[in-house]
């Protein structure tokens, strides 16, 4: 498959912005929607809309089948050992909050320690801070070096007798570097400490096999992998999910309810209280199908060419500083956060927008990382496989023009 054939699956790419053809380089914030996902959601809403799990009628049975077959598809996609380990959520943030609450309320006590990295998105920091303040627990932070590479020594020294869980991102949404999660997990497991992986960016660019990784939790969002908004997944090892108290109480998550005591439903229902997003969750099946299409060799070679062009263009310009520099075994996804000497990131993003290019500027929900690098924000350019070499070249030309206007 070539890139133009792929683009046909994403009608939004044909949008015009300020009279210019849209160049969508904000994929790390949210990807464009895959046409088959859009169609499935529409079809389900129009022709198969009934609350799942509850009723005996045909429509409800069909809707339930769509929803539950998605769980099987996600289980296979992640190579989880059972479908009970796949919990549907509204997104990464929801998945992490679920763990911070349910794992936290079950296993965290005063004086216990939780470890995160300084490259985390706010949604993998704040839920843990909230837990720490509820429990009088302590949040410890792993450092990254000047290239943005996670410092494994600082992980080792952060771990103690009191460490109860480690939460790190698979790929930072600012640095774009693939963290050595396999190594991190085995270090933590050698001390009996479970690990949550924030996979919001990881799932987009990596083949994730949760058994091979041996992670205890893996969280991601559907809207970054071309599926509908409001869809997400929490993978959790059965032994943890079974031991954890529920996150929310309500319909569907119960076994028996009475005023003398309530018992909870078995997994995964225990963590899916209330009416679920049954029109949208099945679009994850389309993402999974698309993921397979994206393994096409021609497409992969093309992506690599576009990525190297971008990387070379951005690193050969002395006015530009790139954050997240790959070295050794640490590779980088096509995500480039930069600052330009003497030029404000917001100004760059505003001018690029007027040239039809969508980028992200600001703190990117990672204020501690901005502080680490001593900047108020950055400009982030994040590509998807449907972005073309022409777009990349046009971007570099426009960036140059914007810098000239602002200098």
């Amino acid at each position: 498959m070539n890139v133009n054939e792929l683009r046909n699956f994403f009608p939004a790419l044909e949008t015009e912005i300020f009279g210019k053809k849209l160049v969508y380089f904000d994929n790390a914030a949210s990807s464009q929607r895959y046409i088959r996902a859009v169609k499935r959601q529409e079809d389900l809403s129009l022709h198969c809309n009934a609350n799942i799990h509850r009723a005996v009628h045909k429509l409800s049975a069909d809707a339930t089948e769509e929803y539950e077959s998605t769980r099987n598809a996600v289980k296979d996609f992640l190579n989880a050992s059972s479908r009970e380990e796949i919990v549907f959520t509204s997104g990464t943030t929801n998945s992490i909050n679920l763990v911070a609450f349910s794992f936290g309320e079950t296993f965290i006590h005063e004086g216990d320690e939780i470890v995160v990295s300084e490259a985390e998105h706010h949604s993998d920091i704040v839920p843990w801070q909230m837990l720490c303040s509820r429990k009088n627990a302590v949040l410890k932070v792993i450092k990254v070096d000047d290239n943005g590479i996670l410092d494994i020594d600082s992980l080792t020294s952060a771990l103690s007798e009191r460490t109860r869980i480690v939460a790190v991102t698979h790929i930072s949404n600012v640095l774009g570097l693939v963290n050595p999660v396999r190594e991190i997990i085995s270090i933590c497991h050698s001390k009996g400490i479970p690990v949550l992986i924030d996979g919001a960016q990881g799932i987009v660019h990596q083949r994730v096999d949760v058994q091979e990784l041996d992670c205890d939790f893996y969280a991601f969002s559907g809207h970054k992998i071309y599926a509908s908004t409001g869809t997400g997944v929490l993978y959790g090892k059965k032994k943890w999910l079974e031991a954890m108290i529920p996150y929310m109480g309500g319909g569907e998550m119960i076994d028996h309810v009475s005023f003398s005591g309530t018992t909870y439903a078995p997994l995964p229902g225990k963590f899916e209280a209330g009416t679920q997003n049954f029109n949208s969750i099945p679009t994850l099946k389309d993402s999974i199908e698309l993921f397979k299409l994206l393994q096409d060799n021609e497409l992969k070679l093309y992506c690599d060419k576009v990525s190297s062009f971008m990387y070379d263009a951005l690193t050969s310009d002395s006015r530009i500083k790139l954050y997240g520099v790959p070295c050794g075994t640490v590779s980088k996804i096509p995500l480039y956060s930069i600052t330009v000497k003497g030029v404000h990131h917001e100004d760059l993003a505003l001018l690029l927008d007027k040239m039809g290019i969508a980028t992200r500027s600001g703190q990117m929900c990672a204020e501690p990382l901005m502080d680490r690098f001593g900047v108020t924000g950055m400009l982030r350019i994040s590509l998807a496989p449907y972005n073309t070499m022409e777009e990349a070249q046009y971007f570099i030309k426009c960036l140059d023009k914007a810098i000239a206007m602002l200098s």
Partner: protein
């Protein structure tokens, strides 16, 4: 801190800006003009670059200093982003050196009319939005004295 256009009425200055901007058809030309205004903004007094005068936005930061003298409000402002500075320059040229009543009579819609509304939408949570609310609040406060 001067009232740059005090010999014209507030509405006249607003209309002048709308006219200036109507000359530019291309978006980039509008922004080029704003960048120019930003570069030529009267320097902000270093002594007023204090935490309490800093309006923290999501992206750019804005410093705003004001004084009330002889029944008129005067503003000086600055930003770390140049396009924001350009818009600040417009706001100062319209509102600095005006009486609180004059300021309250403006609905700030000229920003919308020159096509910069997106920069001032409250959901953008940038310093400019807070700058405008601060100007309005000051005008309201002083109009009651």
């Amino acid at each position: 801190m001067e009232g740059i256009n005090s010999n014209k009425s507030l509405a006249e200055v607003e209309n002048g800006i709308i006219e200036d901007f109507s000359m530019y058809e291309e978006w980039l030309d509008k922004y080029e003009y704003l960048i120019d205004l930003g570069k030529n903004l009267e320097p902000y007094p270093e002594s007023a670059r204090t935490e309490d005068r800093l309006i923290k936005g999501c992206q750019s930061r804005v410093w705003l200093d004001s004084k009330f003298e002889d029944g008129k409000l005067y503003f000086a402002a600055d930003s770390d982003a140049i396009i924001t500075k350009g818009i600040i320059s417009l706001l100062i040229s319209v509102y600095s050196g005006r009486t609180p009543q004059e300021i309250l009579s403006s609905d700030f819609s000229f920003i919308d009319k020159i096509g910069l509304k997106e920069n001032l939408s409250p959901t953008r949570s940038n310093g400019l939005v807070s700058m405008i609310s601060t100007i309005k609040a000051l005008a309201l406060e002083k109009s009651n004295v």
